[in-house]
Structure formats: structure tokens, C-alpha cells
């Protein structure tokens, strides 16, 4: 399509933890500095800064992008925030892509920061005001209820069992054992998941990712600059995002059509016809165990309702044909909302460069897809990376 080629050339990430002592600004800068150091750039080499951070209600900071500006290294620079709820983490990388692809900038620093622990007693409180003020809020819902409905619908339509879904938690928490920044890595069994505390049927405690504090940053560069910075640029081959209706009652929750639309947009740009074969690694969004399967189907990595079978057959293990969430995902690494989405893109970056250490997927992967999901179960954001 004659688009300008854009690569990721550096990445950095803080440890994800339940309650970081650092302020949001400090977390953002820690990740930004690591990303810059990783490609031996200085702040003066950066033309433009993009921030991703999810609801202001987590830390009760109005106009959060203004507050975080210097932490993101945006002093005296063009700087803007992108926001699509939980989908923000992958979206901001898409946003950084079009900032560079537009020709306005040659380098862009993408920073995703989340500090959820300042929301007391629990970050769930930030979601009290997301519902429709007339039809939903009066019911006093919790996010978990909605995910429980979606999980139930997904299980009911395809005849999937809780046991099959529990394997996602087992796989991802195990993968996270090899991630130095992970918050909740663990060696657990399917029985552990099934026997964990019931949150809202059928969602159990070990089906849920932990809330987290953390930040991730990436450095993007246009082709001519990227080749000067590194011998191993990882190209952004496709981007896509899509938002469905706000009204839950108008959607069939068994399938994330908006993820499919976003994925089709990204695949078309990347020239991918059969993602189940042409994608080597996937990082579908897994804030809940069933979501990895649900989102993988939306990403067209398999047919509707077929994801549990791939999981059971070991196809999606780190050593399988198409590993899903080799990072450990949100279930293992932690769900620092916006930062968690960008963590998935960073994982693809490290995997495709062969720098993922103990997490390295064998067989020299060439192409990966990362995805995030959010708002009221209505947004899909997708990115395809390749070498």
C-alpha cells in the first residue's frame, strides 16, 4: 500500500507488582529509560511521545496525561495519550505506528503506565461508574458479573467445560515462572483452579489475573532510522482496532466480533490470509482464563469453539506449534491494564529477536500477533509484528 515502514527497536519493562512504592511518573520513567537504553538512544533522539494509561479513576488523577508527561520523557515534545479502556496497551503501539508512518516523526517513544494500587480498597472501585447510568448502574454490578455472563455464554454455546478453561491458567502461570518481571507465576494444577474460591459463577479466583502496578515502554523508528539503530528491527506489519456497541444487550457474548474485525484489518495490512498457519506466536489478551480462548477465536487462530481443543492438544504450549501467551500473559505476569497490553507487544519483540531468555519459543519465530480487549467487553486492538 506504499505505507512507510515502522519498526520497534527497543523495549523496557518494570516489574509488575501488587503495590509499587514508585509513583506513576517514576514507573513510567523507569520503563522509558530501559527502552531507550536497550537501543542506546537518548531522550533527545526521540521526536514524539505517546502515552497509554487506563482509567483516571485508578489513581484519582484528572487529566492523567498532563501529570505523567515528564515521567514519560515528554518535556518539550509533542505528546498525546490514547485511550480505549482495557484495549489501550496494544492500541498505543498502533497509535505510535501511525505517528511515525504519517511522516511527521522518525522516532516515537510509546509508554504504557498503570498504577492500580492507589485505588482503595480495591481497583474494582474504578469500574463502578463505567455502566450505563440509566439501565445498568442502578443494578450495582461488578465487572466480574459481566465476565461471568460472557464466560457462561461461551461455555454454553460450544459445550465447553470449566475444566478445559482452567488449563489456560495452569499454562500461563507456568510460563510466567520464566518471566523476571512477573507478579503471580505459579506451578498449579487444573484441580487448584477448579477448587479456588468462587468469585461469580463460573469465574473462580484462579481464573482471574491479578491487579498490578507497572509500566512498559517501546521505541518505534521509521525504516531508515531503525536500520541505523539496530541490526534486528522488528517490523510493525499490521494494526487494527474496532469498537462494538456500548449496549451489552445488543451483542451475543459468545463471540468477540469486534476482535475479528480488528484482526482482519491488521491481517489485511500484513498480507496474512490464514492466521492459523502464518502466525508463529500469539499473545491474545487473557485477563480471565476463558478470554485467551475467546480472543484467540476472534483472532481467527482457530474456528469458533475450537480453542479448547488446541489447548488440550498442547498446540498452544510454549513448545507447541503456535504458542499462546508464552510470556505468561496477564494471568501470570499481572494485569497492569494498559501496561499489560504493551507487555504483550514487548514479548513479541523479544521473542522475534530471540532475546526472550528462558521463555524463548523454539524454532526461530518470524511473525506474531498481540491483542488487547476492553471497554465494556466491546473493543479489540490488534498488532502484527514480523522480522
Amino acid at each position: 500500500m506504499g505505507m512507510r515502514k515502522v519498526a520497534i527497536v527497543g523495549a523496557g519493562m518494570t516489574k509488575f507488582m501488587r503495590r509499587a512504592q514508585e509513583t506513576g511518573k517514576e514507573l513510567a520513567w523507569e520503563a522509558a529509560k530501559m527502552a531507550l537504553d536497550s537501543c542506546e538512544l537518548k531522550l533527545k533522539d526521540i521526536d514524539d511521545v505517546v502515552l497509554g494509561t487506563a482509567p483516571d479513576a485508578f489513581d484519582m488523577i484528572h487529566m492523567k496525561s498532563e501529570y505523567l508527561a515528564d515521567g514519560c520523557g515528554a518535556w518539550h515534545k509533542p505528546y498525546v495519550r490514547g485511550f480505549v479502556g482495557g484495549g489501550t496497551g496494544v492500541f498505543v503501539v498502533d497509535q505510535g505506528w501511525y505517528h511515525v508512518a504519517s511522516g511527521l516523526f522518525d522516532t516515537c517513544l510509546v509508554v504504557a503506565e498503570e498504577k492500580m494500587s492507589s485505588c482503595l480498597p480495591h481497583p474494582q472501585g474504578a469500574f463502578i461508574t463505567i455502566w450505563d447510568q440509566f439501565t445498568e448502574s442502578p443494578l450495582g454490578p461488578s465487572l466480574l458479573w459481566y465476565f461471568a455472563m460472557e464466560m457462561n455464554r461461551y461455555m454454553t454455546i460450544h459445550g465447553i467445560t470449566e475444566r478445559e478453561i482452567a488449563m489456560v491458567s495452569v499454562k500461563n502461570k507456568k510460563n510466567a515462572l520464566d518471566h523476571p518481571a512477573a507478579q503471580l507465576p505459579a506451578e498449579i494444577t487444573v484441580e487448584d483452579v477448579l477448587n479456588s474460591e468462587m468469585m461469580a459463577w463460573p469465574v473462580k479466583r484462579l481464573d482471574v489475573s491479578p491487579t498490578s502496578d507497572g509500566a512498559v515502554a517501546l521505541v518505534l523508528a521509521a525504516e531508515h532510522v531503525a536500520k541505523r539503530i539496530t541490526d534486528k528491527p522488528v517490523w510493525i506489519e499490521g494494526v487494527g482496532w474496532n469498537l462494538d456497541t456500548f449496549y451489552v444487550g445488543q451483542r451475543d457474548l459468545y463471540y468477540p466480533k469486534y476482535v475479528e474485525y480488528a484482526a482482519r484489518q491488521a491481517y489485511a495490512m500484513a498480507g496474512i490470509k490464514d492466521p492459523s498457519k502464518e502466525i508463529d506466536i500469539a499473545e491474545p489478551y487473557d485477563p480471565f482464563s476463558y478470554k485467551e480462548l475467546h480472543n484467540a477465536e476472534g483472532l481467527l487462530l482457530c474456528g469458533k469453539g475450537e480453542a479448547p481443543k488446541l489447548l488440550a492438544d498442547g498446540v498452544t504450549q510454549r513448545t507447541g506449534r503456535q504458542p499462546w501467551c508464552p510470556s505468561g500473559g496477564l494471568l501470570g505476569v499481572g494485569n497492569a491494564i494498559a501496561a499489560a497490553g504493551t507487555m504483550k507487544v514487548a514479548e513479541l519483540f523479544w521473542q522475534l529477536r530471540g532475546e526472550a531468555g528462558k521463555r524463548q519459543v523454539p524454532g526461530r519465530p518470524k511473525r506474531g500477533v498481540a491483542q488487547a480487549w476492553g471497554d465494556e467487553m466491546q473493543v479489540g486492538t490488534v498488532i502484527v509484528l514480523g522480522i
Binding site: G2, A54, I61, E66, A69, H76, Y98, N242
Partner: protein
């Protein structure tokens, strides 16, 4: 390689201090419907991407983004929120089109400021939670301190600031969209109650409700869809230090750097000569003067004497805020930047009615995100 980008459709609701009769959703729908009609596009068939510019807390909601698609025809389409001023939204759309991602993009922003009862409490949450918020001060004092510093550094006077109010409110009388048009004298402004010294009540813009939507398109699509495209010639945006303790107080550095970027892209060397008129931020009276200097629309420390000479009046050689600005139209929160661009588009199209400027070809719009922020954006638009 990079296509030119034009604004091909505009839609807006009237700007009114209170709108108890409609919700923000209806406001969005009205503005969007009018913009799509103006551009003669169908949102589902023709528009590639949608953006809204909004801050969560303005609505008292979390993740405001989820509410947008249904109101602007964006269901199952790429749709994103930019929590920044409307001009930033237009710039994002401009970049999406230049990158080749979409041919046509719609940008929405609105204000339902009348729902916010205690704005100073809201803005207090935008101050630094460690160093500033615990002091429990009214954040509008930041504007008072900045005005004081600006006057001290440049020698501008309170009378000169009052002239900005008189000019803009008089301009607003000719703008049917404006909510705060008024015939005032400098004495009226100086005699109004001191709020946050040296800011007086009339030095401060009041808020208004309203929605604005604009449709942007690549050159190829723009030429096919409309015979009155308004071209985006240059864009710039920038953030200065967010902390009160380390920022520059006298000079609007963010506007200076954003202006330099936009002039560079537009190839403008002498803004005052090459640009015909400007709509710039006047959230507070002194801001218009401070921004004139930052944008090189006059020399440093000269803005006060320029307004005294009447050189920014409607009908003068370089009219500023002929729409009435925020002082006259009312402040539209994040939609304010879109209101400034709207005026530039109307003037360039020759659709500005009683306040139409004669023979204008190129205009500038600039926004500032308001206290306690130090971010601003600039857009330069032209008829050809």
C-alpha cells in the same frame, strides 16, 4: 507519498451555558448527523475511523470511550478516545490519513460542562497528588500566579488584559453560536470582583455546553466529496513541564514550540505576514496576549501594546478571536479546540455571516488544555 488532508464536513450544536433538555449522547448525535450531512458521507459506508476527545472525569465516568460508538455511527468500526483537546484529535486523524490507514476520519468532541457543579474540585484532582493536592488550594490560583508573572515579565497591564475581554465579548455579539456576547468597557472588567489576584471575574471565560464533529479526508477523497475543502497546512503540539515547581511561568513555551512545529510543516517564515487571522486560546484574558507572543503573532513583550492599538480587532490587519473566543463563545472544555478550528473553517469557507472577514485565505487555530496543564496544539488551515 503522504496525501494532503482536508476538513470536508462540519457539524455542531448551539453553544449554551446549560442544556438540561438533552444528554451528551443526543448532543453527539446531532453534531455528527450534521457533519456527515455537510460532508455528504455515510458513517458506516464511507468513514474509516472515528475519534472522540474527552476526559473521563468531565463526565463523572470511567472509560468514557465505551459510550461513543453508538452516538456517532461508529458501531463495529475503528473508534478511539484521545483524552486531549479537540485539535489534538484532528491532528491524530490527520496522521491516520497521512499514514495511509484511512481515507476519511471523523473527529468528535463535546462539552457538558453544566453538569460539573464544583469545577475547582475537579481540577484540584489534576494537580500533583504528592506535592500539590494535599495543600488543598483552589487550583484557579495557578492562573492568577501565571498572570502575575506574565504581567511582571512583559510589562503588560491589567487594562490591556481587559481590552481582550472587551474585544472578544463584542465579537461574540455577531456570532449566533456564542453564549456570552456583551458590550463592555475596560472599566467594567477592572471593576469586576477580584477572584484570584490579579484575575478578575470578567477576565475568566465561563463554560458552555455544545458538541462539534468534523470530517477529514485525504486529497483524493476530499476532491471527490466536496467543492469546498479546507486544507490542513501545518500541525504542531507540545507539552511543557507539568509540575508547578519546574515550569516556565511567564512564557507559554508549549505554544511557542507547537507553533514552531506547525510553521515548519506549513513552510511559514513570517506568521504575522503570511497568516490572515487567528483563533487562539483565551481561557483567561492574559492568555490571549501570552499566546500571541508565543506564536510569534507579535514580538515578545509587545502583545499589550498591539491590543491597545486595536491591531487584533475584527476589520484590522490581523483579527484575533473574531468568533468571540472562549471569553465570548464560552469555554467548551475539550471541544474548545474544535470550536476554534470551526471558526477558521467557517471564515475560510465564507460562511461566517455577520462576522465574515474579507479576503482571508489562511488561518491559525491554537488551544491550551487549561490549568494546571502545560500542553497546547496548533493547526494552520487554508482555502487552497
Amino acid at each position: 507519498m503522504f496525501p494532503k488532508v482536508a476538513i470536508i464536513g462540519i457539524g455542531y450544536t448551539p453553544f449554551r451555558p446549560i442544556t438540561p433538555d438533552i444528554s451528551f449522547k443526543e448532543m453527539m448525535y446531532e453534531a455528527a448527523s450534521k457533519a456527515y450531512d455537510d460532508a455528504e458521507v455515510s458513517p458506516q459506508a464511507d468513514i474509516g475511523g472515528f475519534l472522540t476527545c474527552e476526559e473521563d472525569f468531565e463526565h463523572g465516568r470511567s472509560i468514557y470511550n465505551m459510550q461513543t460508538p453508538d452516538n456517532v455511527g461508529a458501531v463495529l468500526k475503528p473508534c478511539q478516545t484521545i483524552p486531549a483537546d479537540g485539535i489534538n484529535g484532528l491532528i491524530e486523524a490527520y496522521m491516520e490519513i497521512r499514514s495511509g490507514l484511512y481515507d476519511v476520519v471523523a473527529v468528535e468532541s463535546h462539552s457538558k460542562a453544566s453538569n460539573v457543579i464544583n469545577r475547582n474540585y475537579l481540577i484540584a484532582h489534576a494537580t500533583d497528588p504528592v506535592y500539590n493536592k494535599p495543600l488543598n488550594f483552589n487550583p484557579y490560583f495557578i492562573a492568577g500566579m501565571e498572570m502575575n508573572r506574565y504581567l511582571a515579565e512583559t510589562g503588560a497591564t491589567k487594562e490591556q488584559c481587559a481590552l481582550v475581554v472587551v474585544k472578544n465579548k463584542a465579537n461574540a455579539l455577531r456570532n449566533p453560536l456564542a453564549a456570552y456576547g456583551e458590550k463592555l468597557t475596560v472599566e467594567d472588567v477592572l471593576a469586576s470582583e477580584t477572584m484570584f489576584y490579579p484575575l478578575s471575574r470578567l477576565d475568566m471565560s465561563s463554560h458552555t455546553d455544545g458538541g462539534i464533529v468534523m470530517v477529514l479526508a485525504s486529497e483524493e477523497r476530499a476532491r471527490a466529496l466536496t467543492d469546498k475543502p479546507i486544507w490542513i497546512r501545518g500541525v504542531g503540539w507540545c507539552s511543557e513541564a507539568p509540575s508547578l515547581e519546574t515550569r516556565e511561568w511567564g512564557e507559554a513555551v508549549y505554544a511557542k514550540l507547537a507553533g514552531e512545529m506547525a510553521y515548519r510543516i506549513a513552510g511559514i517564515k513570517h506568521p504575522r505576514k503570511e497568516i490572515d487571522f487567528a483563533e487562539i486560546d483565551d481561557t483567561f484574558s492574559y492568555k490571549e496576549l501570552q499566546h500571541m507572543e508565543a506564536l510569534k503573532l507579535c514580538h515578545r513583550e509587545q502583545a499589550g501594546s498591539v491590543i491597545e492599538e486595536g491591531a487584533t480587532q475584527r476589520g484590522s490587519e490581523f483579527p484575533i478571536n473574531v468568533s468571540g473566543g472562549s471569553l465570548g463563545v464560552g469555554h467548551l472544555v475539550e471541544a474548545t479546540g474544535l470550536q476554534r478550528v470551526l471558526e477558521v473553517v467557517l471564515q475560510l469557507r465564507g460562511e461566517a455571516g455577520k462576522r465574515q472577514l474579507s479576503d482571508v485565505k489562511i488561518g491559525l487555530a491554537q488551544s491550551w488544555r487549561g490549568i494546571p496543564g502545560t500542553s497546547g496544539a496548533v493547526m494552520i488551515l487554508s482555502k487552497e
